[in-house]
């Protein structure tokens, strides 16, 4: 299932970081969460989800730990590190700036 809307480059990372900002989550839950919250507009296939998760882990922004899922299965839970939290703040700030700018252009032209 391809994502029904092309995600902007780098946006997936931000969405993932945001999705686990409150509590640790496993991959499936992250994908479901994003899909539901976006009213099924953003569907993230495993082909981009797991490489992205691993990439973020290698960068040291998120940390992975084995835990037990809600249906009592062993699952890998991802949580933000301090560096990841800082990165998320930066990315959100950038995003706001960019959106603001784009909106301004769209409104005034």
């Amino acid at each position: 299932m391809p994502p029904s809307a092309d995600l902007l480059q780098g946006t997936l990372d931000m969405l993932i970081l945001r999705a686990i900002a409150l509590q640790p989550e496993h991959g499936w839950a992250i994908a479901q969460r994003i899909q539901q919250v976006s009213n099924n507009v953003l569907q993230i296939g495993q082909g981009s989800l797991y490489p992205a998760l691993h990439r973020l882990e290698y960068k040291g922004w998120i940390r992975a730990q084995w835990g037990t899922s809600e249906n009592n299965r062993k699952a890998r839970f991802y949580s933000l590190t301090a560096a990841g939290r800082k990165q998320l703040d930066t990315e959100l700030a950038n995003w706001d700036r960019l959106m603001g700018a784009i909106n301004l252009v769209l409104e005034r032209i």
Partner: protein, 909 residues
């Protein structure tokens, strides 16, 4: 940022466990199935839909894997492993390719190392970037002792009084040092030998920042007054090779018979501030009179003989330093001018108004040798780059041929989902493997080749050669870059064929005649190889003819059965007054030896690139205004001209009755007579003298035929021979012995005869004249040898490359040939067809290359002798060689193809 890299590094080392990734993916799939079940699907359907949504599990694994920081390295290793296996399957190809590259890279490394040492490497001293070499424009009336290396219009030598003033009064330098080279006789443990030495200022080592390996080095306090500083510092190499690293500090050795105390040994690796010099010992410049007993230079402001190198104080720009130093120097020159003999306005203008001092960057040191090796080295480097270019084209064409036969393999890989990037990476990895293997072998060979070459170039000459056989980091970097560039080039060649291919097309094309693009590429390869090798063969031909011509130049006297050696009694401690008598005794002793036909001696050795020139006044001749009469002024023995066999054309030879106290006599050559007088006979009876040196006045008693003097390359110049016995001061002599005995026998008896006179006397450079001439031609011989070697190599490479490409393309045309033969073509027709195609290609390339070669060889014409850059014989021979190689390379596979059974050829594929 740093934390991010640390984290990456941690995962680079540890990675992720495969089972972890699998389990994680499995969990995801299971949850998808659960979700589907919850949505009301049947168990089978839930599984099916989840599987479809998930896609290939292997691909998912791979995508995760690609994120691991070390994935790039892993995939590179995998590519290399695969490449290695591929090469292993094809050992013949791999060997030829690696050896070709090794030759190309090894030759390049060797020559570049020489180039680097001569033209690029900085001196092994502290902060070489601060050093500057001083030179000046303006007149220099008086004596000028130069080793060469002068920039046109500028002189590098200064007088000692000027040096003292500059050193003590300047505000520019943190150390201004003086150096002058000279060969001396050293006696150590009762063994005497001639060694190169340097007279240096006391601050020499201090200013350069050279440390002692033993004892101490010279200090400013070692430069006091003339003759008072009998101390010496040895070079590390001399101490190691000649003195067996004995504890020499405080010991005494004799320099030209005078005892000197050895105070220490310089650090290993340091030779001199002058590149190309490797003095065995350094003595204070104040000991000049011991080093050169016949001269007294220290107090003479009109003797220009020492090279100056300064260390510019930090913070000064070159312009500031130059202007500040010029002001000082001009004021010193102004104070010096009233003491000069010629006080005319013109002399003043030349001495002061047109005078200017220049500071050149001196990190690489001053060198009289550098300019003379620059051109030969550049030429050889150009040739070796052509060879390397050919090696690359060669390997590229071999790889191309190999890749073409791998079309099916690549098609399958594309079909299995490989991206063109992956295939490209694979090809580059294979290329790099070949390149690295070639570079490794090349680097192993280079020091050996270098040693051989240096040994060959330094020949008979005494002392340490200017070049060393070790490769420094600069050379290694050069080789690495050259290897990478070359590997990229030749690995991309087959990639061009496979980038973005039409799969179906390439699968169908197995037995076709090859795609248009690759055919063109192959033709380009063939043309490049023929072109490069033609250039190299032409260069080889021109340089070989040059050396042949030089060897066959008639210098005007017979060089067979002629031995030469040098003897300077002052190096054995004889006083100037005794010198001439000892030299005469040596002449008598040698002439009495069995087999010796004649003996002569001169202070101005023949055909050794030495000149002793000066201006003269000739009675009966009025010089034209501003005419500078610079002529050759050898001092010879009375039998010298007869011993060499220079024919007399008027008057008489010197005689035994022309003694030191008799009327001073001179013999001039025909050029001299022609320049100053109407005819040869008219010269007789006139007097020749040096300006302002009445003691030099001599009467012309004979005229001899012109002979070549400085070198076989240069025409004879006006020459005035006088007798060393009648000379104003003593001098070391070069003896010429005409003997019928074999050279080694004669050499032994000569050494014995001289030792019999006095064991301390040093006979040096005892060689047959022919060898001496060869040594003078070292750079030409080296170029000719290397050019010939590169020519042969180029022909070989072209042959291999052509054969490889042609064999492949003819094999591809088996079906076409089969059809032709089935339709009635004969074997000979088929062979002719193929050979004609090759020859047409070769002919076209030759037509294009010849004008390029003529242009390229114009750049080297200063190095040629007696042969035009468009020499028809050379070009003809080169074209013939190329055509033969091309014809042979085409004929071999053509013959095989024509031997094919048409029926079978038609059935292939």
């Amino acid at each position: 940022m740093l934390r991010e890299w640390l984290s990456r590094f941690r995962f680079f080392l540890t990675g992720k466990k495969r089972v972890d990734v699998d389990e994680e993916l499995q969990f995801h799939l299971d949850r998808a199935i659960e979700a589907n079940l919850a949505a009301g699907m049947s168990a089978a359907e839930a599984q099916r839909q989840a599987g479809i949504a998930f896609g290939s599990r292997e691909r998912a694994r791979e995508q995760c894997r690609e994120q691991v920081p070390r994935w790039l390295l892993e995939s590179l290793l995998r590519d290399l492993r695969y490449g290695l296996r591929g090469l292993g399957r094809n050992p013949g190809f791999a060997t030829v390719a690696v050896l070709t590259l090794a030759l190309g890279i090894g030759a390049n490394t060797t020559i570049f190392s020489l180039l680097d040492q001569a033209l690029m490497r900085a001196l092994p001293v502290r902060d070489p970037g601060q050093l500057v070499v001083l030179s000046f424009a303006g007149s220099n009336p008086g004596h000028h002792h130069s080793e060469g290396g002068d920039t046109p219009g500028r002189i590098h030598e200064f007088s000692y009084p000027m040096y003292r003033n500059l050193r003590d009064k300047n505000t520019v330098f943190h150390g201004l040092i003086a150096v002058a080279p000279k060969s001396v006789g050293v006696t150590w443990n009762n063994r005497a030998e001639p060694v190169p030495a340097e007279m240096v200022s006391g601050n020499y080592f201090e200013a350069l920042g050279v440390r002692p390996a033993l004892g101490r080095l010279l200090v400013a306090g070692d430069e006091t007054t003339a003759g008072a500083d009998a101390v010496a510092v040895l070079s590390f190499d001399y101490w190691k090779n000649h003195l067996a690293q004995a504890p020499v500090a405080g010991k005494t050795l004799l320099v030209n018979g005078t005892p000197f105390t050895i105070v220490g040994v310089a650090a290993p690796g340091f030779h001199s501030v002058v590149w190309g010099h490797a003095p065995a010992l350094f003595v204070p410049i104040t000991m000049q009179h011991v080093v050169e007993p016949e001269w007294s230079l220290l107090d003479d402001a009109q003797s220009y003989w020492i090279d100056l190198v300064g260390r510019v104080a930090p913070g000064l720009t070159p312009a500031q330093a130059t202007s500040s130093l010029n002001a000082l120097w001009l004021s010193l020159r102004a104070a010096e001018f009233p003491l000069l003999r010629d006080q005319s306005a013109k002399a003043r203008k030349e001495f002061l108004n047109q005078a200017h001092i220049t500071l050149d960057a001196g990190a690489r040191g001053f060198s009289p040798m550098r300019e003379s090796v620059r051109m030969p080295l550049t030429i050889v480097m150009g040739m070796v780059l052509l060879v390397a270019g050919m090696a690359v084209v060669n390997v590229a064409s071999l790889l191309l041929v190999r890749a073409a036969s791998r079309a099916r393999e690549f098609s399958v890989r594309f079909a299995l989902g490989a991206t063109s990037g992956q295939v490209l990476r694979q090809l580059i990895a294979e290329g790099m493997l070949l390149g690295l293997a070639g570079a490794a072998i090349g680097l192993l060979l280079a020091p050996q080749a270098l040693r051989l070459l240096i040994h060959w170039m330094s020949g008979q000459s005494a002392g340490e050669p200017a070049f060393s056989a070790t490769l420094d980091w600069r050379v290694l970097v050069f080789t690495m870059i050259a290897t990478l560039v070359a590997s990229l080039l030749f690995s991309l060649a087959p990639a061009m064929q496979f980038r973005n291919p039409d799969l179906a097309q390439s699968l169908k094309q197995q037995s076709g005649t090859g795609a248009g693009g690759s055919l063109k590429f192959r033709r380009t390869c063939v043309a490049l190889q023929i072109g490069c090798s033609l250039m190299l063969i032409v260069a080889a031909g021109l340089f070989v003819r040059t050396i042949q011509n030089l060897r066959h130049v008639n210098p005007g006297f017979e060089t067979d059965h002629l031995l030469s050696f040098s003897l300077d009694p002052q190096l054995a401690g004889y006083s100037p007054a005794e010198t001439a008598a000892v030299e005469q005794r040596a002449l008598d002793a040698v002439s009495g030896l069995p087999g010796v036909h004649a003996v002569g001696a001169t202070n101005d050795p023949d055909l050794a690139d030495d000149e002793t020139t000066g201006d003269v006044k000739v009675t009966g001749y009025t010089p034209k205004p501003d005419e500078i009469v610079d002529i050759e002024l050898p001092w010879v023995s009375d039998h010298y001209l007869q011993a060499l066999g220079v024919p007399l054309v008027a008057g008489r030879y010197f005689q035994a009755s022309d003694t030191a106290t008799a009327q001073k006599v001179a013999i001039v050559n025909e050029s001299f007579a022609r320049h100053f007088f109407a005819n040869n006979g008219a010269a007789l009876g006139h007097h020749v003298s040096r300006p302002n040196r009445p003691g030099s006045d001599a009467m012309i008693v004979g005229v001899v035929r012109d002979v070549k003097h400085a070198s076989v390359r240069e025409p004879a110049i006006s020459t005035n021979y006088t007798l060393f016995a009648q000379a104003e001061r003593p001098t070391g002599l070069t003896y010429y012995v005409r003997t019928w005995q074999p050279p080694d026998v004669a050499a032994n008896s000569i050494r014995a005869a001289i030792a019999n006179l006095d064991a301390k006397l040093i006979v040096s450079d005892l060689v047959p004249m022919k060898e001496q001439i060869d040594e003078d031609l070292t750079s030409e011989r080296t170029i000719a040898l290397l050019a010939a070697a590169f020519g042969v190599l180029a022909t070989l490479l072209a042959g291999i490359g052509l054969y490889g490409i042609l064999a492949y393309s003819i094999a591809q045309r088996t079906r076409e040939i089969g059809i032709r033969m089935a339709l009635g073509a004969r074997r000979s027709t088929v062979i002719r067809l193929i050979v004609r195609e090759v020859m047409l290609l070769a002919g076209g390339t030759i037509v294009v290359t010849i004008p390029l070669a003529v242009l390229a060889t114009r750049a080297v014409r200063t190095q040629l002798f007696g042969v035009s850059t468009a020499d028809p014989t050379t070009y003809g021979a080169a074209i013939l060689v190329i055509c033969l190689v091309a014809a042979f390379a085409g004929w071999m596979p053509a013959r095989r193809a024509a031997g094919v059974d048409p029926a079978r050829a038609l059935r292939t594929d």
